[in-house]
Subunit: 247 residues, 2 copies
């Protein structure tokens, strides 16, 4: 009974320490990629070395750090920040972090299911352009994007360079006006076996899933997307106001 309670407390403390270290890692606070020694962390967090080891185990299981005898604890993976302050394409938001290259897995006209037609406010019988892309940053798979585009702005994309450009930027050139507003829903889901294989992630890996409907600045919905980001490689960052609604 007492042992169970001690274990529970230690696990709670380890999570608490892990969260603070995760924040430091994700925001690049360990400049040279080395975490302090266990003894130093134990002092810093006012906890036992066993608790520190448990916290580091949690972060290792998330793929954030590696622990090597003699070498110590090092940051294993970078998590890239996707801006949540305004509507941005992936290459735009990650421009400081490297090159985004897109592999077009599928592209063609389809008869849209009713759910797509309703979201894009299209009459029955109007085809849409469907594009499926695997997106890599500096060669590493980052996201799998399923995109439905209304015909007039989607059709010219067959002649565009989708490998090196965000769809957003191409759409704005085709439409002759900027995009306006987008609605988005953010979820966390486990990767199914097939998606995991495509993203080169473990089966069951946590994915950040975004559904996003983008409108042109004249208010017409043109671009419906279902995006799966690898949770171990991407975070979304923004800010909220208590008193001012976002417009």
């Amino acid at each position: 009974m007492e042992l169970a309670e001690t274990r529970r407390r230690r696990a709670d403390r380890a999570r608490q320490v892990a969260d603070l270290l995760r924040r430091e890692i994700v925001h690049g606070s360990f400049g040279d990629g080395h975490l302090p020694l266990e003894a130093a962390l134990a002092r810093e967090f006012g906890t036992s070395r066993n608790t520190i080891r448990d916290a580091l185990d949690l972060l290792r299981d998330e793929g954030l750090i590696e622990r090597c005898p003699g070498v110590g604890t090092t940051v294993a993976a970078e998590k890239f920040p996707h801006g949540l302050h305004r509507l941005l394409g992936l290459a735009e938001t990650l421009s400081e972090h490297g090159e985004v290259v897109n592999e077009v897995r599928t592209m063609g006209f389809i008869e849209p299911p009713a759910a797509v037609r309703a979201r894009l406010a299209l009459p029955a019988g109007e085809p849409v352009v469907y594009v499926e892309r695997l997106r890599r940053l500096n060669g590493l798979p980052l996201s799998l994007d399923l995109t439905y585009l209304v015909r007039d702005v989607g059709e010219p994309l067959f002649d565009a360079d989708l490998v090196h450009n965000d769809v957003f930027v191409l759409l704005e050139g085709i439409a002759g006006q900027p995009l306006g507003r987008a609605e988005l829903t953010i979820e966390a889901v486990n990767a199914d076996a097939h998606t995991a294989a495509v993203l080169d992630a473990p089966r069951g890996a946590a994915l950040l899933m975004v559904e996003r409907l983008a409108h042109l600045s004249d208010g017409r919905p043109v671009d419906l997307e279902f995006i799966r980001f690898r949770g171990d490689r991407l975070t979304m960052r923004g800010h909220l106001s208590r008193t001012t609604e976002r417009e």
Copy 2:
């Protein structure tokens, strides 16, 4: 070779169908909780019944639907929407969906680690109030929140009703001013064994993880939180503008 290609295409199609059905389920489009029959779905999506079955399997594995012989396919779980358009506490944002009740697992003064002190802009030696809460909606575990509060607004919380109130609302009463702006980072992580047990979720379940630093309207940071939402029970919803930065 050809069989592998056929399998790959079918898995891609199943994911495409699943994403559209997920959107319908999450937004409550199946009013009575029953999905259409497989044959109707196959017509709707212009695909084989095998692909529909694969798509439904994906959603069942996510815990969103149940499939019973004779009964058909029914929605198994509600995903609740957390507003992302302004800074809101959990009970505030889910007020239309039921009652939030908080279990305070831990509460006390702690000597903050450097990472907390820096975020809350505190001098060395200044204690903070640490609160850990398991939050339930209509009796179901929804999130585990780790919260660090500056002393002057945190200390009066020892006498407040934390079980039935959001910290945000209590803080505003104590500080005599509204909250202002908050910075947030959103991630998807897999639940470790201990966290999974606390949230009554399967080990490895995808969690939506939010780190949030809230300031009073005078700009002082007062509330640093690390929140783990069950990915199968919560989505975040908002909108973005292409041309206007959020303030």
